[in-house]
C-alpha cells in the first residue's frame, strides 16, 4: 500500500520534473552499428537520461545488464534510456543485434 502511495507521489513529482528538465542532456548516436561517443561520463548517484539516436535503417537493442536496461530502438528513430543512480564506476553497454561493433561504456563519477 505504501509503495503504491510512493509510486503515485513519484508520478506527480515526475510530471513536475519533466516539465522543467529537458531529456536530451546526453545523446548517443548509432551509425553503421557503432555508438558515438563510445564513452559517456555521467555524474554518479543521480538519475541520468540518455537519448539514443539510431541513424541506421535497421533496429538495434540497447542492452546492459549492469545498467538494468533493455531497449529496442527502431531504425531511423530514437529512444530515451533512463539509468541510475549509479555508484562511481564503468558500466559497459552493447547493441545486442550487432554486438561485435556496437559497444560502449558509461562512466559514472
Amino acid at each position: 500500500m505504501r509503495s503504491v502511495l510512493v509510486a503515485i507521489g513519484t508520478v506527480g513529482l515526475l510530471i513536475v520534473a519533466a516539465a522543467g528538465a529537458r531529456a536530451d542532456d546526453y545523446v548517443l548516436t548509432i551509425k553503421e552499428h557503432r555508438f558515438t561517443p563510445a564513452e559517456i561520463k555521467v555524474p554518479a548517484n543521480q538519475r541520468v537520461v540518455i537519448t539514443v539516436v539510431n541513424e541506421d535503417a535497421t533496429p538495434e537493442e540497447f542492452e546492459s545488464t549492469v545498467l538494468k536496461v533493455e531497449k529496442v530502438i527502431a531504425g531511423k528513430s530514437k529512444g530515451v534510456v533512463r539509468i541510475g543512480p549509479l555508484k562511481p564506476g564503468r558500466y559497459p553497454f552493447v547493441g545486442e543485434y550487432h554486438e561485435a561493433t556496437a559497444k560502449g561504456v558509461i562512466i559514472a563519477e
Binding site: S3, V6, A7, T10, V11, L14, A18, A23, R47, V49, T51, A57, T58, P59, E60, E61, T65, V66, K68, V69, K71, V72, I73, A74, G75, K76, S77, K78, G79, V80, V81, R82, I83, P85, K87, E96, Y97, E99, A100
Partner: protein, 276 residues
C-alpha cells in the same frame, strides 16, 4: 550464422522455458495443447505487430512507451499466473486423482487454460518481437541473408527443443508431486516477472523509489550468461537487484502463498463448517 543463432536462441529460450512449465502444469487437462497453440500463435502474430510498430510504441508516453508496454505485459502475466495457481490449489488434487485413475483427461472447466494461454501468448509476444526485429534487421541490411536467416531459424528450433526438454524433464516428476512442483515454479516465475516489471517502470521513470542496488553477484553468476538467463526467467535471478525489486519479489511470493492457501481451504463441498 552462429551469431544469429545465439541471439535468437537467447530470446526464444526464455519463452520456451515458460511454455515448457505451462505444458507440465496443465498435464491431464483436456484440450490444453490447443489452448497453448492458440497462445503461441497469438503471441507470434502479436510479436510481428509489436515489431512493426516498435517506433511508435517507443516514442509514446514521452519515450517511455516501450518500458510501459513491457511492464504491463509482465504485470498481466503475473496476474494470470496467480489466477492459475489459485485455481490449481483448489482443483489440482482432483486432476491428479483423475489422472491416476484413467490416465489422462478430466472434465474440469477450461478456465485456467485461458489464463495460461494468455501467459504463453505474452511470453512469446515479448521475446518474439525482439526476434522479429532482429531478423527484420538482417533482411533490411541485405547482406548474407540466407546464412543469417538459417542461423535465426535454427535458433528458433533450438529454443523449441529446449521447451520440449523442460517439459519432458518436468514430466519425470511423479504425478503425485507434479502440481505442487509446477505451482511453486509458477510462483517463482511470477515473482521474477513482477520484479522485472517494476524495473521497467523504473526505466520508464515512474517507480523510482527504492532504486538503490542491494547487492552485486555478477562475480558469481553473470546474468548475461545462458545459465544466468535461464535462472533469470525461472526464478527471477538478477545480479544487481534494487531494493524495490526485492520488495516486490517477496511480496508476490507471499501473496501467491496466501492465495493458494485461501483457495485450498475455501469450502469446496459447501458443507456448513462447524468451526466457522
Amino acid at each position: 550464422m552462429l551469431g544469429a543463432l545465439i541471439i535468437v536462441f537467447r530470446e526464444v529460450i526464455e519463452a520456451g522455458l515458460i511454455v515448457g512449465i505451462v505444458m507440465a502444469a496443465t498435464r491431464g487437462v483436456p484440450d490444453r495443447s490447443r489452448w497453448i497453440m492458440i497462445g503461441i500463435g497469438a503471441g507470434v502474430l502479436g510479436a510481428a505487430i509489436v515489431a512493426m510498430f516498435a517506433g511508435v510504441i517507443s516514442e509514446a508516453f514521452q519515450g517511455a512507451g516501450q518500458e510501459l508496454f513491457n511492464a504491463s505485459v509482465l504485470g498481466v502475466a503475473v496476474i494470470m499466473l496467480m489466477w492459475h495457481n489459485a485455481w490449481m490449489a483448489r482443483h489440482g488434487r482432483e486432476i491428479a486423482d483423475e489422472m491416476r485413475r484413467v490416465g489422462t483427461a478430466v472434465s474440469e472447466g477450461a478456465k485456467p487454460l485461458t489464463a495460461l494461454a494468455i501467459v504463453v501468448g505474452l511470453a512469446v509476444l515479448r521475446e518474439g518481437s525482439e526476434v522479429v526485429l532482429f531478423l527484420y534487421g538482417i533482411l533490411a541490411s541485405g547482406t548474407t541473408v540466407s546464412s543469417l536467416l538459417t542461423g535465426g531459424l535454427l535458433g528458433i528450433a533450438a529454443g523449441a527443443a529446449f521447451s520440449a526438454l523442460t517439459y519432458f524433464g518436468l514430466l519425470a516428476i511423479p504425478n503425485r508431486y507434479i502440481f505442487s512442483v509446477t505451482s511453486w515454479l509458477i510462483a517463482l516465475l511470477a515473482a521474477g516477472m513482477a520484479a522485472q516489471s517494476v524495473q521497467f517502470l523504473n526505466n520508464a521513470g515512474l517507480v523510482i523509489a527504492l532504486d538503490h542496488t542491494v547487492w552485486d553477484t555478477s562475480w558469481l553468476l553473470s546474468e548475461g550468461s545462458i545459465f544466468g538467463r535461464l535462472l533469470h526467467t525461472l526464478i527471477g535471478y538478477t545480479e544487481r537487484p534494487t531494493e524495490m525489486q526485492l520488495v516486490v519479489y517477496v511480496c508476490i511470493l507471499i501473496a501467491m502463498f496466501v492465495l493458494m492457501r485461501a483457495a485450498r481451504y475455501s469450502p469446496r463441498h459447501s458443507a456448513p463448517a462447524a468451526a466457522e
